[in-house]
């Protein structure tokens, strides 16, 4: 069963003669391919932007994507999406593109390797405190670690670490299972069934990209929203009190 590789890290394209540690494996090659497709594609489309009633076809595609992502971010975070769109949108586009390309023969999704997904999850792990500190200051962000009581401090820290691990392993497991199941099925039903599994793989690939982006947004929103919620609660409480006092008088 040589066809079953559970990671793309062992598929080596090029190896330096002088430095045996320096090598170019399939994960790096395919993630650079996806990055090149995204960057060159969006550069080509945004080179000639039109504002009239007739816009170019691919500009329409990108506008639909960006508008959809902004709407989703606004729904999830209930804040202005402009600040979060570059980070969360890039995560979604990169994961979605690398999962969608898996219909191309010879291509293996780089998200099917734990190194890529761990890197993406580390980005989220770093971005959450950055957004949190940017929105409510260092003290305000650190305060939510001891939020219910200071006794919860270790559990909050463990939760922060374990959700990063879960984010990485979820994406890796889903994409790896797709390729492994396809490889095993080719072994004994090579005719028609792998196509159905590929279709299912496309669906799960898109859903996983969506879920990764939404979870990243939820984590960031939970770090940034505490202050605003308490303000709003205070406001509504004040309003209620005012209302109550008015009605009683």
């Amino acid at each position: 069963m040589d066809s079953v590789q559970i990671t793309t890290d062992e598929w080596i394209f090029w190896k330096s003669q002088a430095w045996p540690a320096v090598k170019l494996n399939a994960t790096i090659v395919f993630s650079w391919l996806v990055m090149a497709i995204l960057a060159i594609g969006s550069w080509l489309v945004t080179r000639k932007l039109a504002t009239g009633t007739e816009i170019p076809r691919f500009q329409n595609v990108l506008e639909v994507l960006v508008t959809g992502m902004r709407d989703q971010i606004r729904d999830v975070s209930r804040q202005d999406p402009g600040k979060y769109l570059p980070f969360v949108g890039t995560l979604f586009l990169f994961i979605g593109m690398s999962n969608l390309l898996s219909v191309v023969p010879g291509y293996r999704p780089p998200t099917g390797s734990l190194t890529t997904t761990a890197a993406l999850a580390t980005c989220v792990f770093v971005a959450v405190p950055l957004y949190g500190i940017a929105s409510q200051g260092l003290g305000g962000y650190l305060k939510h670690y001891i939020q219910p009581t200071p006794l919860m401090l270790p559990f909050n820290i463990i939760g922060e670490l374990s959700r990063t691990l879960a984010l990485a392993v979820r994406l890796y497991g889903n994409m790896m299972s797709g390729t492994v199941i396809a490889a095993i099925l080719i072994g004994f039903v090579p005719l028609f069934v792998p196509i159905l599994m590929q279709l299912l793989g496309l669906l799960t690939g898109m859903i996983q990209a969506y879920i990764f982006a939404v979870l990243a947004m939820v984590y960031i929103a939970s770090a940034t929203k505490v202050l605003r919620e308490t303000e709003e609660e205070q406001q509504t409480e004040d309003d209620n009190e005012a209302h109550v006092t008015q009605t009683t008088t």
Binding site: R170, G173, V180, L215
Partner: protein, 88 residues
């Protein structure tokens, strides 16, 4: 039976048991979640957008437990850390 055979036997049996037991719980959980979400959508079709989005995120959370079991059984089958220790 030498130690390689014991490791191989244990790994294969445990890989099967891991994925079998580990997929029962998430299957029940996902079934319950989808049933509740469907009845919620049937009662309030207006908020089906929010329900669907939350459902997908929740399903991913539930499913990740099954995925962990799958990853563990794949490691046992194809990248067993004890295998190299005994074959060398």
């Amino acid at each position: 039976m030498d130690s390689t055979a014991i490791v191989a036997l244990g790994s294969i049996i445990m890989a099967g048991l891991t994925i079998a037991i580990g997929s029962i719980g998430p299957a029940f959980g996902e079934g319950r979640a989808v049933a509740q979400a469907l009845s919620a959508i049937a009662q309030q079709p207006d908020s089906s957008n929010t329900i669907t989005r939350t459902l997908f995120v929740g399903l991913a959370m539930i499913e990740s437990t099954a995925i962990y079991c799958f990853v563990v059984s794949m490691i046992l089958l194809f990248a067993n850390p004890f295998w190299n220790h005994y074959t060398q």
